[in-house]
Structure formats: C-alpha cells, structure tokens
C-alpha cells in the first residue's frame, strides 16, 4: 500500500491533482482512464445513485406512509399514556449499595431520579437467578408459566444437567457428497422459555420496541421492532463460553472450568499453535476446525500475533481488538467468529489468553437478532461486539489464569459496546419501548465482592500475606458511579415529558463466603447413596446408586426427588410419600447451621407446589433452597459432583452472589414518575408497560400494572 508521509503529503497531493488534470485534459485520455476511474468510482457512484433512488421513493411515498402511520399510530397509541418507555436494566444492582452511594453523593443521577420520581425495592423471583428473574420480567408471569427455574435443569431420564433455556439439535436431513455431509435443513434451536414477551403483545398493537440484550431472548423471537439476544447465546463452539489459554508452563492437570489450557513450545522467539474452533459438522470424524497462528516475541511482554495473513501487535495485559476468525468447513464454506487475544506474559513462561470465540455479529452462524440484519447493522455501525450470552469471561479469572485488571478491562469494553447499542436504540426509537440490560454490574460484583469484605475467605489479603491494598478495592464503588453516569446520560438523551424511564435490577447482590454441598448433606442424611466403592470427584452424579437414592441436588438452587414413574430409576412413590419426604427435607434443611460460625446457612426451603403455579411447574426442582446471606450452593453441587464436607470456604474470585432467599435480595426500581403501588415485583413491569401504552394485560400474566402518576 502506498502511504505518503506527512511531510510529503502536500507535495504528493499537488502531484496527484496535476496528474489528474493532465490526464483529463484530452478526451481520449478520459476514455482511456475509464476502467480505472470507473472501477474507483463505480461503488461510490452506485451508492449515491441508490441513495437518490431511496430518497425519491421515500419522498414520493411519504404522503401514503404518513397517512398509514397516522392511522395505525393513532390506533396504536390512542389509549397510550406515554409516548415512550425506556427500561434500563442493571443486572444485580444491590439496593443497599445504591442507598449508600446515593447518601454519600456519589450517584447524583439516580438520586435525582429518585427525588423526581420514585425508588422502591423490586420483588424478585424464586430463585433470584437472572434467567429466572428476567424471564418473569418479560413474560409477566411466575416461573411455573415460563418454565425457567435455573440455569440448568435435570434430565429425568439420565440425571444429567442440561441448559434450561434452549434446546439445540443438529440438522436432521443431510446429503453426503464425497467426504462432506451437506445439511439440507437448518439446526433446530428451540427456546425452552415459554410465554410471550410483553413487547410482542405491544407489537401486536402496533407499538415498536427495541430490546437489547435482555436475558433469555435466544433464539430471537419475531416482534414488531428489533431484538438483540443475550444470555444463553452460545459461543462458536456451542458452549456457554470456552476460553483458550496457551502456555509453555507444564499443565497442572487440573480441569479448567469454562476453558481449556493448551501447552505450547517456544522455539527461539516463536510460538506456533492453533486456534480451536467448533467441530466440523460437514466433515464427520474430522474433529474441531483449527486455524494456525504464530507468535513472535519481540521483547519482554511484547509480541506479534500472525493469524490468517494478518499481523497484530500484542502487549502484556492489553487486549487486541475483536479479530474475525474464519474456520473453513468445506470448500467455499466458512464459519465466522470473533475473538480477542491477550498476551499474559513472555517471561519466564509464555502465556496467552484467548477469549471464547463469539459468533460474528456481522455474519452470525446462528441467528442472534430479530430481524437477522439487526446484529449486522449494529456491527457495521459500531464495530464488532460481544455476542456470547455470558459475554464477560468470569471463568478465566476464577481459574486464576489472568489478573483482576484483565477481567475488569473486558467488562468495561463490553459495557462500552452495550452503551453504543443502547443509545442507538434511544435515537432510533422515539415512540414505543426501549429495553436494554447491562450485565457488567452482575459480573463485576460476582468477581470483586471479595474486596468489599476484609474477612471474606477470598479477600486477597487472606490468600496472599504480601497483599497491599490496590485499585480494585473500589471496583464496585466505581461500577456504581459509572452506572450512575450511564443513567445521567440516558436522562439527558430522553429529556422529554412523554418518556418514562425505569432503572431496574432483577435481583440484588450479596456475599458468597461459604458453599453448601447439598449432595454431601443428602448423603450424610441418607437420602442419597453412592455406588459401592465410589470415589469422590465424579461429575454429573455418575456414581450415585439410584436404586437407593431418594433425592439429589443439581444446578444452583434445586433439589429433585427421585420419583417413581418420573425419574428413570425413581424409588419415591409419588403423592403422599413424596410430599412427606419433601416436608422432611424442608424441616431438616431450614436453619441448617454452619459448624464454623454456628450461624444458619439456609434460611428457607421452598416447595415447588407452593411457590409456582402454571403448566410447567412439574419441570421445576421439587425443592428450591433459599440460602442465608453469605451462603450459596457449593460449586461442585451445581454440576453433580460430591465432596466430603457439607460446608466449604469459597476462596474463588467469584465471591459475590445472589442465589439466596429472594426476600433477602430484592432488585431495585427507579422511575422517573411517582409509583403509587406498594411492593412492586419484577413480573409487574410487563403488565405496567402494557397498561401505560393502553394495551389490555393478557389474563395469563401474573403481574399487575403498577399505579404510576402520569400527567
């Protein structure tokens, strides 16, 4: 590529202009430079032509569109009390912290919102988990009607966990062409969340909606407006986020949750390896698709990444921009993804972190928005962005492979991407509903809560005697201040009387100091029995003797009974026997004391029959555990592992959580208008929006419209 230096710029421009004038000075010359010039200008002229055409069409059809819009708009908004409603979701914003920072004057914008309108606690769901809570928010109903009870649910046929919100099946019809298998139909991606989002009801009444990154909206459903999916969108490998860590260090053999470690060899200043992509479904038996890359170490903590013919500079603890990676599945068929690299160190060991490979929003391998072009629009307008459901890679920090700063930088850049998308939706949706959820609040609190409590088992001072206080001590405070600034900017952009702004969180946040291994407790109490000779450390309850087991725990909140006729090897008689067993477990678990502190670790246990209503109640865990502050289900229980002790110190970076008794952890509701109702709940917000736009609330919704003073 020819590049002119700054000094030579003026001269080169003069030369170019002179050359242009000379070449155009004769008619024959004009003709002869035609293809070059034509090639150069064809595309831009085409764009100009196309734009003019569009403008002409828009102007000519404007009167008709105006009439149609006026008629439809009048019908749509005829009973509406507001012109626009903006719901800004800050996942996991904790009311006690918000109160504290407002009192200290650190959150002036939320304070202003509270003073002008209202600030109330917002009732969350049982259990207070994001997929459950946001599903209740968007359907306006309890989990018994939307079928999401946890991140994971138990497969009753084989006792294995599965992702509760979505079911993905490979294409069923294929055509074999040589060594390739050509799919004739698309893979089936089925949303397991039931119920209709309230914005779909609004859309049916002609009201436009922009929905950005609200959890449990994948696969995207059709609506009148735009939807960008969030939680549960997989990475390119089909997982919920699998990082890669390349290191010359001898692998300790320990399993890396949420990622994989690849041992590499340094040859001089070069390291060569492969980026691991998804399995090649078009070439059976070929395994994962890979893209070779090399790293040249330039000097200490500096290197150059060479991938697919391009070079990218790497500096320690600095992320590359999003890099598009193309995995070749078959001749002419590529699968696109995007990822970011971060050099961790070059000395004494080489270490490189690669974020999970996200679906490329410009050309997603699976639909991640409605209309499909919406993600393309956002990508082209603002650049590539994280598409993975749980975009912030908490696992790599939890595994201790990168430092706190690397994770924080990732969260900040993802929030910055989200901010652009949110403000774009505000700009483009002047009438209707805008909903956007920021999840950085949740992830940062999960990972940095330990800094808030000096006596937290995971506080760095308790793990490293040489620890000295650092900037991360105020990470959560900085987060709240930053979110307050976001609210302030939002208020500036929607500064009109006809827009209602709500700032909400789906649940609050608390400390996670001690984990409770429910399966260990079930074994201790004789409800679960392992196979003879079983050694601890197995996963997915594989060593459980089902013929003698009456209850098991899986996921973040649930205990399942092994019911005859429902579970594959059920032993508990349904009906009275099952109810008696449930009551027995509830009685024993409620108030279960932590031997270390003599404090109760479990506050309440909920019977699904009492806390859920609806057609999908049977899919729920039989019991939902409401932990006390500071406690949560142990890491191992969630994936069906069993340990020797019931209580464990949590020394992982994931040190804050919200999977406790919902009464202890309500969300927040700030509103630009006065809310006259008491005790609002998350599931009331959908009906409230419908009511404000003058749309009748469907009878199957459990939520009720809040009384809000609208002029």
């Amino acid at each position: 590529m020819i590049k002119f230096s700054r000094k030579g710029n003026f001269v080169s421009r003069i030369v170019l202009i002179a050359a242009a004038l000379l070449l155009c000075s004769t008619s024959v010359a004009s003709a002869y430079i035609g293809p070059g010039a034509g090639f150069a200008l064809a595309s831009s002229l085409f764009v100009v032509f196309w734009t003019f055409l569009l403008a002409v069409i828009a102007i000519l059809t404007w009167p008709i569109r105006w009439v149609v819009r006026a008629v439809r708009g009048r019908a749509a908004f005829s009973r509406s009390k507001i012109r626009r409603m903006v719901i800004l979701g800050l996942d996991g914003l904790e009311h006690t912290l918000a109160d504290r920072f407002m009192a200290e004057g650190k959150m002036p914008n939320l304070q202003k919102l509270r003073d002008r309108g209202s600030f109330q606690l917002l009732g969350t769901t049982t259990p207070p988990l994001s997929p459950v809570a946001w599903s209740s928010f968007l359907t306006g109903s309890n989990p018994g009607k939307h079928n999401i009870f946890d991140f994971l649910n138990a497969n009753r046929r084989n006792y294995t966990p599965f992702l509760s919100s979505v079911d993905i099946q490979a294409p069923t019809k294929n055509f074999k062409l040589g060594k390739y298998l050509i799919p004739l139909n698309k893979p089936s991606i089925r949303l397991m969340r039931k119920g209709k989002p309230f914005w779909n009801t609004l859309g049916e009444h002609g009201i436009f909606t922009s929905v950005i990154r609200v959890p449990i909206t994948w696969p995207p459903e059709k609506c009148r407006g735009v939807v960008l999916s969030a939680m549960c969108v997989p990475d390119l490998r089909g997982t919920q986020g699998l990082f890669s860590f390349y290191s010359t260090r001898q692998d300790d053999g320990a399993e890396k949750t949420g990622g994989e470690q690849v041992r590499v060899k340094r040859e001089g200043n070069f390291i060569r390896s492969e980026l691991i992509g998804p399995d090649n479904s078009m070439k059976p038996g070929a395994g994962a698709m890979k893209i070779p890359f090399s790293i040249e170490i330039v000097r200490r903590d500096e290197a150059v990444l060479k991938l697919d013919g391009e070079s990218y500079p790497l500096r320690a603890y600095e992320y590359t921009p999003w890099i598009t990676v193309k995995f070749k599945a078959a001749p002419g068929v590529t699968v696109n993804g995007i990822t970011r690299f971060m050099l961790v160190s070059t000395e004494p060991e080489f270490e490189l972190y690669v974020m999970p490979i996200n679906l490329d929003p410009e050309k997603p391998a699976m639909p991640i928005s409605h209309p499909a072009a919406y993600s393309t629009y956002l990508s082209k307008r603002y650049g590539p962005f994280a598409t993975l459901g749980l975009a912030e890679d908490t696992w790599v920090l939890n595994e201790g492979l990168v430092e706190d700063g690397a994770f924080l930088d990732q969260c900040l850049s993802i929030d910055a991407e989200r901010e652009k998308q949110f403000f774009d939706s505000l700009e483009n949706t002047k009438r209707g509903l805008c909903v956007c959820v920021f999840d950085g609040t949740d992830r940062i609190q999960h990972m940095f809560w330990r800094y808030l409590e000096r006596d937290h088992p995971a506080h760095p001072a308790n793990l490293d005697p040489a620890y000295t206080p650092n900037r991360f001590e105020t990470t959560i405070e900085d987060l709240y201040v930053r979110m307050d600034q976001l609210v302030g900017e939002t208020m500036d952009r929607i500064d009109d009387d006809n827009t209602m702004l709500m700032v909400i969180s789906d649940h609050g946040f608390n400390s996670f100091r001690r984990g409770i291994d429910l399966n260990a407790w079930l074994i201790e109490q004789g409800y679960m029995v392992l196979k003879p000779g079983a050694k601890l450390g197995f996963k997915y309850l594989s060593e459980v003797d089902w013929s003698k087991t009456r209850a098991f725990a899986l996921g973040l909140a649930g205990i399942f009974l092994n019911v005859k006729g429902r579970e594959a090897q059920g032993v508990v008689e349904p009906g009275t026997a099952a109810q008696t067993l449930k009551d027995e477990i509830i009685a024993k678990l409620t108030g279960l004391k932590d031997p270390k502190s003599n404090q109760p670790g479990i506050r309440r246990v909920f019977d699904k029959e009492k806390c859920y209503q609806g057609p999908f109640r049977d899919s729920a865990p039989d019991l939902v555990v409401g932990y006390h502050r500071g406690y949560r289900v142990d890491w191992d229980t969630a994936i069906g592992k069993v340990t020797s002790d019931v209580f464990h110190d949590n020394v992982k970076a994931w040190s804050g959580d919200h999977c406790i008794d919902p009464e202890l952890i309500p969300g927040v509701l700030f509103c630009s208008h006065k809310i006259e109702s008491d005790s609002p709940r998350l599931m009331d917000l959908g009906p409230t929006a419908l009511n404000l736009f003058g749309v009748d609330v469907p009878k199957n919704m459990d939520g009720v419209p809040l009384k809000i003073a609208v002029a």
């Binding site: 002869y32 595309s43 307008r381």
Partner: protein, 301 residues
C-alpha cells in the same frame, strides 16, 4: 522529453507485442475478454495497495449500516431521512478515498490501454477502400532553418511561404506499386498547414508510405488486410498523442513535418453478437471481473 517518450513507448510496445503474441491464438473478442479479466484483477490489486483500506472498510460499513437502518426502523421517518443524509455524506467520503487510487491507477492504465487501443481502435483497410491521409507541417517559424518572426506577419506574408512549403515538402509522397492515389496533387489547406490525399491499395500487407524529400523524409506504414495489427493512425503530434499512438517513433525534431495521419476505419469487436466499442467492453468487463474476484481477496472497494 521526446527521448523519454520514445523509451516509454518502446518498452510499452515490447510489452504489448509480447502480450498480444501470447493472445494471438485467440480471436480478437476472446483476447479482449481475457485482457479484461487480467485488467480487472490488476485493478483490484493496485486498488488494494494504493487505497486506505481501513478507511474504505469503515465508510462502507457506515453506508451499509445506514441503509439497514432505513429497513429496521422504517416506522420512524426521521431515521430514514437521517440515514439518507448520512449515506450521501459517506458516499462523498468514499469518492474522496477513491481519488488517490484512481489517479495512481490512471497512469499505468493509460499506457496499457494505449497498447490495447493500438490493436482494437482501428482495423486495417480493405483492398480498394479509400484511404484518407493527412500531412501537417509545422508552423513556418518552427521549421528548420527559419528564424523566429518578431512581428505579426500580414495574411499574404503568412500564406505564401506556407503554400510553398506545402508544395515543396508536404506534397511529396512515394508509395509502393500496390498503392495508388485518386489524383496526383493533394488537397492543401494553407491555414491548417495540411495536405490531404485519398489513396487506395490493391493488395493486402504493410505498405510503407514515404513523405517529404531530400533530407526530410518521414515514413509511415499503411496496413491493408484483416489481421489484428498494431496500428497507429498518427505519427507525431502532441506528447500525449505520442503515448496513445505509440506504434510509430517520433518525427525527428529537425523535420518540417508536425504529424502524419492515416484515418483508419474503426474496428468493431463483436461480443456475444453485439457490436460494442472495445473500450466499453473493456470498461464493463474489467469491473465485472474485479467484482467477481473481490470476494476471494481481502480488498475493499
């Protein structure tokens, strides 16, 4: 200048001869299509090297995004009109980014196109077809041996010496036996300093025509036949004509001749049965080929 032009044209002629020798197995139409493909590919390469690809990609992304926004937010007329305004703005920016590669590309492509033009712009004469030939002399004050006039001459003063020059030098033409002229004396236009002949040839081949007398003789070949010849219809002329009609060497600077023009008939190179000017064919096909090749490269246009 003349020396440099001669070097450039000679190199280009050698290059053109080599390329067309390689293409001589094909019909003129197939050769033109092949050339269009090669030129399309070359244009793409040069474009990739000389343009600001990052900026072009960004501008094109913005154009695409605003186009999409008109579809995604069609309920909102303000979005549509804002998008159109932004598309126009970015289209202008795209044109701005196109300027530098366009100018850089123009230089080599004029040379390449002139070589193609030598073969495709004109066809040789058919036997018996009238052949217009025009000789232009230099103004008197630029002719060898004349001093620069210091005052404006009268019309009579100006006409008489030029008439003499046209009779003495400009009307001298020697032809081989296969070429005849329709009358002995050429038609002279004194103000234009030209002598015009109407010739005809009876045999196919390259017939050397010799103009002038004594020490001031300039030759120019006359082509008669069917083949794809390297034909210059002009010898001499402006510096740019030298590039466009590079088959012939420059006229020596001490000659009284300014230029010699043989007005060959235009060549039609039918493409898929349609008679289209070669430049149009090349223009369209090279762009089409470039667009077809583009997805296999990393070039943004």
């Amino acid at each position: 200048m003349s020396f440099i032009l001669d070097i450039i044209t000679r190199v280009m002629n050698l290059f053109g001869d080599a390329v067309f020798a390689a293409l001589s197995f094909f019909s003129p139409a197939v050769a033109l299509v092949t050339l269009s493909a090669v030129i399309g590919w070359l244009m793409l390469l040069i474009w990739g090297w000389t343009s600001n690809q990052t900026a072009i990609k960004e501008v094109r992304n913005q154009i695409a995004a605003h186009l999409l926004s008109t579809r995604l937010f069609k309920d909102n007329l303000a979005v549509t009109f804002r998008a159109q305004r932004m598309i126009l703005w970015y289209a202008m920016k795209l044109m701005g980014h196109s300027l530098k590669p366009m100018i850089i590309m123009a230089v080599p492509f004029v040379l390449v196109m002139s070589q193609i033009g030598l073969r495709y712009e004109f066809r040789p004469f058919q036997p018996g077809e009238p052949i217009p030939v025009t000789v232009t002399l230099k103004p008197l004050n630029e002719q060898p041996g004349s001093g620069k006039s210091t005052s404006a001459p009268s019309i009579d003063d100006k006409n008489e010496p030029m008439k003499n020059a046209l009779v003495a030098i400009g009307s001298q033409l020697k032809m081989p036996g296969d070429v005849t002229r329709d009358r002995f004396d050429p038609c002279r236009a004194i103000p234009e300093r030209t002598s015009d002949w109407r010739l005809s040839a009876s045999a196919i081949g390259e017939h050397p025509l010799e103009f002038g007398q004594d020490d001031d003789i300039v030759q120019m070949p006359l082509y008669v036949g069917e083949s794809l010849e390297r034909i210059s219809s002009l010898r001499g002329g402006h510096w740019f004509d030298r590039i466009l009609y590079s088959a012939e060497a420059s006229i020596p600077p001490d000659s009284a001749f300014e230029s010699i023009r043989i007005v060959y008939p235009s060549r039609d190179t039918p493409i898929f049965g349609y008679k289209i000017h070669w430049l149009v064919t090349l223009f369209v096909l090279s762009i089409v080929f470039a667009l077809v090749i583009k997805p296999f490269t990393k070039v943004h246009i």
